[in-house]
Amino acid sequence: MRILTLIRQVLDAQEGVHIAKNAVELNGRKLVIDTMDEYGVEEALRLREHGLQAEVIAVAIGSARVEEALRTALAMGADRAIHVETDVALDAIALSSVIAQIAQAEKAELIFCGGQQSDWDSQALGAATAERLNWPQATWTRALELSGSLLSGRHDTEDGVESFEVQLPAVITTQQGLNEPRYPTLPNIMKAKRKQIRKDPLDAYAIEPKLQTKGVAFQTRQRLRKILDGKDAFTAASQLVDSLRNEARVIQ
């Protein structure tokens, strides 16, 4: 069986967010595998370690730097990687087309995808990919077990837990709590050096983004930093009431 695990690369949570030229500055910043995608890699590796005969393929679409994230997936234990290299920013619907094409070409039966992208909070990629392939999807999974081609597991809902079973092929999205991703060990890092990363141009997939981001900006909260002279408590209190009523408009 072939398992695809989707890899997205995001700004490390420790990094400060900085905007340059209408986009979040990534140059010189530390980028990492999106944690939820990392759960997918880990889960694929665990299925294999529990006896499943499977080839685990890490797939990423993005700039040259995304290779770092794929190398991490390989160092964790994925067998090989496919990198669709492009500097074009693709929306989830466009991305899902690329992934569906790869899934079909590779005859994959299981796709792991992070439940939510940590940078822009998008949750669409898993669902869109399932739709393209006409596969079932199980989202926000927290526990998984495979017997034959029947995958069972559970996922959390707001008020409880739901158990499910699904016949492969299927798309599975992950969330925190599914597993604890391993650190790449030194022997695996050295082995990964010899693993293949196939480079595909975006042209090979004949897609175009339907959505374009035109700009980003921080939501800023400005403080007035107004200090009232407190020498005369009565005057200060009436000034405060006045400010709250007429400037901040929080009281009538």
Binding site: E25, G28, R71, Y183, L186, M190
Partner: protein, 599 residues
Amino acid sequence: MSTAVSSFIAKRTAGGSFLIEDLLPGDVFTPEDFTEEQKQIAQTTSQFADEQVLSSISEIEAKNYDVTRRLMRQAGELGLMSVDVPEEYGGLELDKVTSTLITDRISVSGSFSVTYSAHVGIGMLPLVWYGTPQQKQKYIAKLASGEWIAAYALSESSAGSDAMNIRTRATLSPDGRHYILNGEKMWISNAGMASLFTVFAKIDGEKFTAFLIEAGTPGLTVGKEEHKLGIRGSSTCPLILVDCHVPVENVLGEIGKGHQIAFNILNVGRFKLGAAAVGGSRNSLRDGIRYAKERIAFGKPITSFGLVQEKIAESAAGIYAGEAVVYRVIGAIDAALSSVDKSSPEYSKQVQKCIEEFAVECSILKFWGSEMAERVVDQTLQLHGGYGYVEEYPAERAYRDSRINKIFEGTNEINRLITTGWMIKRAMQGRLALMPAVKKVMDEVMSGPGERVAFEGPLADERALLANAKKLGLFCAGAASQKFGMELGDQQEVMGMLADLLAEVLVLDSVILRTEKMRGRSALAVKLAKYYAARSFRIVESAAERVIGTVAEGDMLRTQMAIFRRLTKHEPINTVSIGREIAATMVEAGRYTINGSAA
């Protein structure tokens, strides 16, 4: 040779040659030369350190050794203890840059870092280098996995820096099957959790020899834990040997040649300490910046104040310089090791020779690194104000933990004496063309002002400072030798001043080469280099002036001071504006960085 993870191999150089040779940026290894694999290894190590070690810090500090053992096993599983272990014993046998990188990144807790370093360094390396195949078969896998922890027992209550003075004795048992050891060892790192000890004793009170002793061997007792100023979560105990029977097959290396083990291992310990100091400083500065960003005083974050920014800039420049010099030296060692034949029966000996070649550099990394780190942890504590003085914040722990670095692996005093002493020794042996270089500089400066050499590039002024620092180093060495001749070694203060000169030449040289190798990719790196150079030259000036004041008087003193003034003449840079710019980038990043959009 071991498996090179580095793809760039530095130019082969002779130890100590930094004072007399000018290298090109392309000749040295720098942190910018790390390969993808090395970056990943650094990443795994940092994740382990930040997520596992730091999250257990209170248990570690409380000497909960079960927690430390668990972390050591985890480090073993990740392969962090197999880097210097030969492949035939299940190790990875990677180059020294890679093993140094791990030491650097794992150093977020002084206590754990000491446990780890003592284990993989003085704990395991004697066995790796001198063990018989049987000894290695028996012990290495257990040590590399972290299942067993190793300790090294050399020091005694009255034998520290003078290690040859040990009193522990060994005598062969009448049946010839055991050595019987008696004596007491002191300050033994990891003693309270170790399963295997490398113990030094003199057979019949004469033949200095190493023994491998398993914990639990009758007659071996681990004494009470010392109550230490810092690294409280590491174990330090005395060992008491009373008629301890050690099987003869557990003699490590040759009888009577234990001093080779004892001394060669020190060079590794020293360069690794330099790397640990850099890693510890990076972590401490991150704590300092995090706090300073959040601390509001007079209505503003304190990072907006100049004297706070100055502390951040000084620390960052020290770390930048530390990275430059550590990886330059280790890169040079790897270059030397790259031609050693692994299949040779003399392999281990050759490896040690290659490292010993750089004994001067190793000593500099040790004393310079520990003193740089001491300034950084002090600045971090100061950034915290009163909160730096209480245990709730990590600044206090880092400050206490850093102090030991100036004491162990040879005190900084011993390492300064080694630095200058080995340079002289190498010159006397004809292995370093120091004498002609001294003569050339003496002739040149005595003959009056020469032509000014013009340097180019953004660091042209710093290159001029470095060239003059090298001349001052040679001049002072020459003047001191003229005055004291063979007795120079007894003038410890002058030896110390010369060591400071040598250290600054090596560090500044490394800083400039590293920065130039980046070819302007980082404007921040250029600022860090300039900032460090300004500090470095102040130390050079001060040391040179003190040497001259000691060795000359009267007319000679006036002549030498005229030379001194000529060689130290320079226009100062604006350290305030550069310092503010450096600090702004570090604050924005929330940690030490050499990339920054603000730069």
